[in-house]
């Protein structure tokens, strides 16, 4: 141990400069800052020309940055949870990407300010029902639905749907929302009011306890605060160790990691539910938080691979991050790519198989109609099949060109996936086309995030020189 520390401290005094960003890179954060400024200016122009479009585009840009940061924090926590030695030289880069979360404190503000547009689906219902106006509505709908049931019964050969309710203790009036598709069929049988809309209102009124304005804002702020705290904490602890070499810092972070992971898991689930799932307010899927995590975690591997390869090609970390580390990153990338496919397929297949109308709306928009069907297929092909074969082989993972190509495709498709999550809910899908506002918002949000990340990168060591397991990472070889 003592030898090791001696060696390290001597190495530190001699080689410390090599663990810093070189001149070319240390100004990179300014480039991102300029890009962000341009993007933000564009986004502002977008807001004044098309506020609806801006609301969705901003949410998209914001979520791209959020997923990368979430993936980075989870990645760092997992290294602590598993006491990983191989990844120490890579970990600092991930910590930088986690430390960018500070910018979300600002980036989330437009999301909240535009919620009248993006989350109109539940926001107005909630407002409508505030003040205990539920009961009369429910009664109206009950009458409506039994009438509809009769219409259905007489008009077609279908048997009448069972309206018998399970005895829900706190359920004052039976509701027609259920596992039957019948009411949707009968939508045109009434002339007085659109029953689909009534049904929607009825369902929404039962969701206001969660989907209401104030609680939504509070939650959004809470998530970004947790991420800000966690991202900064992980980087700060690690940087403290650069100078103090205190082994206790590693032990302390590791002992807090389980709790931090639980917090991160619940906040990222919340973010996925609030910012994406509630865009389609009647839709719900229990796996969606896991789906969001899988997307983020795949993305961060691509980001790490691409960042470290670029650093190496400009002469940094050449000895510290070797083909062995890329091989391992490639394996993780591959494994979580398969995990992403597994989770995405499970969600799709279960919804497709059961065919319950409330659930199929999500995929109906994203898989069946409009410009989105080919995007869905492209996700299958380019977010999974092509990179799967690009990085399946050991030899390909160790040929850095292939790995880089795979990571590049994955990261691009990650952005497309977030776009595919958000944009199909933009009103007037018939004439949907890509807009410069989307690009401006992406540039603004991600640029601001990267400016902070690279600012931190420029002012700290690129590898955790004080980590007790550093020598294992330096000597690491795949067995």
């Amino acid at each position: 141990m003592s030898e090791q520390q001696n060696k390290k401290s001597s190495a530190n005094s001699k080689e410390a400069p090599t663990y810093r960003l070189n001149a070319q890179w240390s100004g990179l954060w300014k480039v991102f800052a300029v890009l962000a400024a341009l993007g933000l200016a564009g986004a502002a122009a977008g807001y004044s020309s098309n506020p609806t479009r801006f609301a969705y585009s901003w949410l998209f840009g914001f979520l791209v940055a959020v997923t990368i940061a979430i993936g980075a924090m989870m990645w760092v926590l997992i290294q602590y949870l598993t006491s990983a030695g191989w990844s120490v030289t890579v970990r600092r880069t991930a910590e930088f990407f986690g430390s960018g979360t500070v910018v979300f404190l600002a980036l989330v503000v437009p999301v909240i300010l535009t919620m009248n547009t993006t989350f109109a689906g539940w926001l107005h219902v909630g407002a409508h029902h505030e003040g205990g106006a539920e009961a009369p509505h429910a009664a109206v709908i009950m009458g409506e639905s039994s009438m509809l049931a009769q219409v259905e019964h007489t008009d077609s050969a279908h048997p009448a749907p069972s309206q018998a309710m399970p005895a829900v203790a706190d359920h004052a009036a039976p509701a027609p929302a259920g596992h039957g598709a019948v009411l949707g069929h009968a939508a045109h049988a009434t002339v007085r009011e659109d029953p689909e809309e009534l049904l929607e209102q009825e369902i929404m009124s039962r969701k206001t306890w969660w989907l209401n304005k104030n609680f939504f804002i509070a939650r959004s702020v809470f998530y970004v605060l947790v991420w800000f705290g966690l991202g900064s904490w992980l980087l700060r602890r690690s940087i403290l160790q650069d100078t103090s070499k205190d082994v206790k810092l590693t032990a302390g972070t590791a002992s807090m990691a389980p709790v931090a992971t639980i917090f991160l898991a619940f906040t990222l689930t919340g973010g996925a539910f609030d910012w994406i799932m509630s865009l389609e307010p009647s839709w719900y899927s229990t796996i969606f938080g896991v789906n969001f995590f899988a997307s983020s975690f795949v993305a961060i591997h691509a980001v790490l691979i691409l960042t470290l390869m670029s650093m190496r090609s400009s002469g940094m970390l050449v000895k510290e991050v070797t083909v062995e580390h890329f091989h391992d990153l490639g394996k993780m990338q591959f494994g979580f790519l398969v995990f992403w496919a597994y989770i995405s397929f499970s969600q799709f297949m279960l919804i497709w198989y059961a065919g319950i109308p409330e659930e199929t709306t999500w995929y109906h928009r994203r898989w069946d109609v409009g410009p989105w069907a080919p995007v869905g297929l492209a996700l299958v092909g380019l977010h999974f099949v092509v990179p799967f074969f690009l990085i399946i082989s050991r030899n390909f993972k160790r040929k850095l060109g292939w790995l880089k190509l795979g990571a590049g495709i994955i990261l691009t498709m990650h952005v497309v996936e977030i776009y595919w999550f958000v944009m199909p809910n933009l009103p007037k899908q018939d004439d949907f086309a890509f807009s410069w506002i989307d690009a401006a918002c992406l540039l603004g949000a991600v640029g601001a995030y990267l400016a902070v990340v690279f600012r931190n990168m420029a002012s700290h060591s690129l590898i955790p020189v004080g980590d007790p397991r550093l020598s294992r990472a330096l000597k690491f070889q795949n067995a």
Binding site: V168, H179, K207, A254, S282, F288, S471, A479
Partner: protein, 483 residues
Amino acid sequence: MSTHPIKELGEVALTEEGMTFHDVTETVASVTERSAPRNWWIALFIAASFAGVFGAAVGYLVWQGVGVWGNNAPVYWAWDITNFVWWIGIGHAGTLISAVLFLFRQKWRTAINRAAEAMTIFAVICALMFPGIHVGRPWLAYYMFPLPNSMAIWPNFKSPLIWDLFAVSTYFTVSTLFWYVGLIPDLASLRDRAMGMTGKFAKVRATAYGALALGWRGANRHWQHYERAYMILAALSTPLVLSVHSVVSFDFSTSVEPGWHTTIFPPYFVAGAVFSGFAMVMTLMLIVRAVYGMKAVITMKHLELMNKIMLVTGTLVGYAYGMEFFIAAYSGNPYEKYVFMNRAFGPYSWAYWTMITCNVVSPQLFWSKKLRTSIPVMFAVSIFINIGMWFERFVIIVTSLHRDFLPSSWGYYRPTAVDVCTYLGTLGLFFTLFLLFIRWVPMIAIAEIKGVLPQADPHAEEHGDHEHHDHAAESDAALAPGE
């Protein structure tokens, strides 16, 4: 130097200090060479008796028909599928230990992987009994296979039950291959020891182990392909194990039954499976460790790490319970909401709270280092988790079915004596197979343990002189992760 454990981080060596290669062979192989301890015979007698009960219960079932079980409208699926899912789940820990931990380079797995893999195979055998018998006419089971049958109809490949058939039989086959491949070098060790033995059965042993060892001679040209094959099998088993329990979960979640149809089922079932499987591994290893004096190989560090994995998977299962409840409330769907309220406060609330206590509350004890390194505590918790995970499947299956959409179709399921005997009988079958395994097969992977000893590193002796010479396998080969 770097392979030395960092004491400040709580790292310790994986085996007791000073163990030689020969000690490993001797410790493990001698169990199969000594005569069995008396307790082994007693245990075998008890287990075999239960296995006999299983045979009788199944015989009665086949003779009389499935009416001898408690299943009836509206609970058409009950203990049979509960037991099936429970057993399959137990098997998953074996694959996780042998494959996933292998891929993640968690070398501590070497102490437990062989027994865990054996456990997988026996658990899958027990699981496979249930789909076989619950069809009522097992002689027509071939209808499930893609064979041209008398009605010229092919199987319906859109049925999740057919997916299950493919998944479970693939799982059984691949697990057996994986286990056998891992065994080959150790069977060669037993063969070579038998060659030097004298006595009545020495020749039989040498022939039997020799035949199974396939003429393995430890050649490096063989090790090269062997290691690659092992790695590929691990890489194949990892998605396989995910898929198997996911497909099991599809049996429920492709339906439109509230309480069954929820998209989190696949990963939730996988996490639950690993959770219960680790608990069963823990139960078995604690017994084996005490009876056969394996404390030098299965150290407290191993047990503690397994407890941590149980804590992690238990938390994942808790997350899934939470998501189900949250979405039931969030969805605004009265049926979803009803099912979950009924689970927690309806007629089966006793089962639900048993499940929560065992699965979510009891593993929380492992947050304390003192408790997770206490043998009695971990033994008790492992039993609790086994019980809790059985109840989880029972709760999912029975509470979702017993209140149908029409109140006239409500019911309350009670098991019959045949149900109970069938279930206890599979436990007997499982333990019979496991006892035979520890008697005749090296229960710890001899070659793999040798590979993680400090002296196994061919560059170990050079470290003193060449501190920064980085040609060696300086990975955390001989280390268990710390806190």
